[in-house]
């Protein structure tokens, strides 16, 4: 009796005597490890070529070590200065600046910090450039008084705003780029909105989201019937149609955008046609490019295949006998479509919409070429800061915001529609 209860309550043993639970866990772990080893090359590749660079880029949106590194003495000396007092920093600060400048100029780094601070206060760059040119010859022992010397080099060194900027941007981490990206700035008493005439990014972000939605919507409307035709025509004609869908897909983006310019401009093909038919008077040709309309038309065309293809692959799997069954049970054409066919195509619409929307949000070449003033996207500003102004911190902050917005929308989509309902094929 006691023996039997011992075997019943004790752990179940495997053949080699170890508890079965542990043995099973070990086997499973080994299996998982093997699977992990198999995907390890891909994982490593993604980590090195994708996640790390993006992480590094995003870190730039808060990184501000440059000021401390290049002006170490000045940053310390300036810490006690009261920026609201309206008075210039003391001679000690200028002396520290002279020492920092001499060192920085020898290493040719003074202009770097000037450029960094110029993003916050225009004019600082030239003040640093001018001071650096002289700083090589500074005699730190016998020279001075430094306040006078700096004021003589450039009167901006006598502007408390310049000093406040240096002080504000002393810490190694800054929220400045993010504030700038949402049209704010660091004022005397903390963060404040920028003046109306300098606000652009929030308006651009709203416009980007709104227009991407419109583009996604018009893609759905245009793609649905095409995908339906593709899925239901006989093989031969369906193949022909598929080539027509894919042909523009293989054409260069720039060529397609330029083609739209030729079609849509005021002296273009469409306007010429309308004037010739007599629908539009010659002196009042339609403005259908260089505005939001132009961007929406061109981008809808460019992104259309990304909507058609997922829809098509989903529609292909829908059994036509469902529709026939619905009709034989008395449904009208519309009811059969709306109650039976359409719900089954939702996963395709979902997949296409996510693709098109996320692609649209990051577009910048097409909006730049056909968007005029009101049809450009936030990505155009990101491109400007990456390649022209070299303000990569701000570009990273704008990019981070865009990324978060997309993730939030994706999350919301998952909550409302459910990501399981998305099917790419």
């Amino acid at each position: 009796m006691s023996d039997a209860s011992a075997t019943q309550n004790g752990p179940v043993l495997a053949a080699d005597g170890t508890p079965l639970k542990r043995s099973l866990a070990r086997a499973l772990r080994r299996q998982k490890m093997r699977a992990l080893m198999l995907i390890a090359p891909l994982l490593l590749f993604i980590l090195v070529s994708f996640i790390l660079p993006i992480g590094d880029m995003l870190y730039r949106s808060v990184d501000n070590k440059i000021v401390q590194n290049i002006l170490p003495r000045t940053v310390v000396a300036l810490a006690d200065w009261d920026s609201t007092s309206g008075e210039l920093p003391s001679e000690a600060v200028y002396t520290a600046l002279a020492a920092d400048m001499k060192e920085a100029a020898a290493a040719k780094e003074h202009t770097k910090v000037g450029v960094r601070l110029n993003y916050e206060k225009p004019g600082v760059a030239s003040a640093f450039r001018k001071a650096g040119r002289r700083a090589k010859k500074f005699d730190l022992e016998a020279g001075g008084p430094w306040k006078e010397a700096f004021l003589k080099i450039d009167k901006k060194w006598g502007d408390t705003e310049v000093w406040r900027t240096i002080q504000t941007y002393s810490p190694p981490v800054t929220a400045g780029y993010f504030l700038n990206a949402v049209d704010m700035r660091v004022g005397v008493d903390g963060a404040e909105m920028r003046p109306e005439r300098e606000r652009i990014y929030m308006a651009l972000l709203k416009r980007t989201l709104w227009m991407s939605l419109l583009i996604t919507g018009s893609c759905i409307l245009l793609a649905y019937p095409v995908a339906w035709l593709l899925a239901n025509l006989p093989m031969r004609s369906a193949n022909m149609l598929m080539i027509l869908v894919l042909l523009p897909f293989w054409t260069s983006l720039l060529v397609r955008t330029s083609a739209w310019k030729i079609l849509l401009q005021q002296q273009g093909v469409i306007n010429d046609l309308l004037v010739w038919v007599g629908l539009v008077p010659d002196d009042a040709r339609l403005q259908i490019i260089n505005n939001q309309f132009g961007t929406i038309v061109a981008m809808t065309h460019i992104l259309l295949p990304f909507m058609i293809l997922p829809m098509y692959s989903v529609m292909q799997t829908i059994n036509p006998s469902y529709l026939r069954a619905a009709k034989s049970l008395g449904a009208t054409n519309w009811t059969a479509f709306w109650r039976v066919y359409f719900p089954q195509t939702v996963p395709g619409i979902g997949a296409g919409s996510i693709l098109v929307f996320i692609l649209a949000i990051g577009y910048y070449i097409t909006p730049a070429l056909v968007g005029g003033t009101k049809g450009t996207f936030i990505s155009n500003q990101i491109a400007f800061h990456i390649s022209t102004s070299l303000n990569w911190g701000l570009a990273a902050a704008l990019g981070a915001i865009l990324l978060v917005v997309v993730l939030v929308l994706y999350w919301a989509y998952d909550k409302i529609v459910g990501i399981d309902n998305v099917k790419l094929g």
Binding site: T111, N118, G372, S387, S389, L390
Partner: protein, 368 residues
């Protein structure tokens, strides 16, 4: 297997031969420029002659000058700069020089004297606005107009752009604040030498933008240099600003009914720069090349292929006819006295300080 060995052996041989021939100068040079007709003019004017003098040298061409600043910074951060000589506009040069991405040049010591014996600093007087900059050409951003669309009185002043009563129709302007703000203030009655003083105040910027607002509905904003010639050729715009070389090719090579409006043309500078901290052999090659490419004769030669003025004063008398079209080039140069009666030289330093700020103001205004 055999093939790879042969290739490896021959590469090693050429490398050896090259090293022996050019005494520690790299036998490969990456030259970065703008592509198109401009880069072609550089190839004909000084790269091909330089290759003849240096057999065995390979030049690798890159057409990335438009993104030069961003790519230079990325390469420098990665610690792998593959460029040797880069063609860049002055505003980009100032920025790259500030960032320490390109090397400072001692012009008198490292570059060729003028044919008239003048020192480089004298020959390029007034153009050496950055320590890193090696001048090549002077170009200008200026207006072209459709001769058949302006009525009986051809425009003679840049302010015709703002006169929509006399010259109805669209105008093409570059989608950036530079030049446009200056032209607007000039046509609003500000004296030429006070433009930047006025622009340095908030009210001044407002004033310039208000003036631009009077034609905002009539403006087509362009971003790529090829757009204005196309817009003019299609009759989509009556006036359009662009680089003078683009207008030259539309007028002289494609015979479009377009004419130049040189009034208040905005001088801009374009030249060569050398990345900072190149290895010794590549640096020696780059310096040797830029010395050759920027001498008096070569600068004049380039003007035979494109209508951009040589930066050297000593090159001006040598400017001759277009190599293919056979027309005199001097009257098409922005620096020709007849074209340069009223010139706007933009303040590089002011724009280096204020470009980002002005861009924000300008973009906000555009979006309104």
């Amino acid at each position: 297997m055999k093939l790879t060995t042969t290739i490896m052996a021959s590469t090693a041989l050429t490398a050896l031969a090259g090293a022996a021939a050019a005494e520690d100068m790299a036998m490969e040079m990456t030259f970065v420029s703008w592509g198109g007709a401009y880069q072609a003019s550089q190839v004909k004017a000084y790269i091909e002659p330089y290759l003849e003098l240096n057999p065995g040298l390979t030049v690798i061409y890159d057409e990335s000058s438009a993104e030069a600043t961003a790519k230079m910074r990325a390469m420098s951060e990665a610690g792998n700069v593959t460029w040797d000589v880069v063609d860049a506009v002055i505003s980009d040069t100032i920025r790259m020089c500030d960032e320490g991405l390109i090397m400072e040049i001692d012009h008198d010591a490292q570059l060729a004297k003028g044919d008239d014996g003048s020192l480089p600093t004298e020959d390029w007087d007034g153009q050496l606005v950055s320590d890193c900059y090696i001048p090549l050409i002077v170009y200008s951003t200026t207006f072209g107009y459709r001769t058949d669309l302006v009525g009986d009185t051809a425009p003679t002043s840049v302010c015709a752009i703002f006169d929509t009563d006399a010259y109805p129709g669209k105008r093409a302007l570059q989608k950036r604040p530079i030049d446009n703000l200056e032209w607007a203030l000039y046509c609003d009655g500000v004296a030429k030498d006070e433009i930047y003083d006025v622009l340095s105040t908030d009210e001044g910027v407002d004033r310039a933008l208000d003036k631009l607002a009077t034609i905002k509905d009539d403006v087509v904003w362009w971003t790529a240099g090829a757009e204005t010639p196309q817009l003019l050729a299609d009759g989509e715009v009556v006036f359009g600003s662009t680089f003078n070389g683009r207008l030259f090719s539309a007028i002289a090579e494609q015979n479009q009914p377009i004419s130049m409006l040189w009034d208040m043309q905005s001088y801009d500078l374009d030249g060569l720069v050398i990345p900072a901290d190149l290895p010794a052999d590549r640096l020696a090659r780059a310096l040797d090349f830029v010395k050759f490419a920027t001498d008096t004769k070569r600068q004049a030669d380039q003007a035979a292929y494109i209508s951009y003025g040589p930066a050297r004063k000593s090159s001006a008398p040598l400017v001759g006819k277009h190599k293919e079209l056979g027309i005199e080039m001097a009257p098409h140069m922005p620096t020709d006295p007849a074209n340069a009666t009223n010139v706007h030289t933009y303040d590089y330093e002011w724009w280096a300080d204020n470009r980002d700020d002005m861009n924000a103001r300008f973009e906000a205004w555009l979006a309104k």
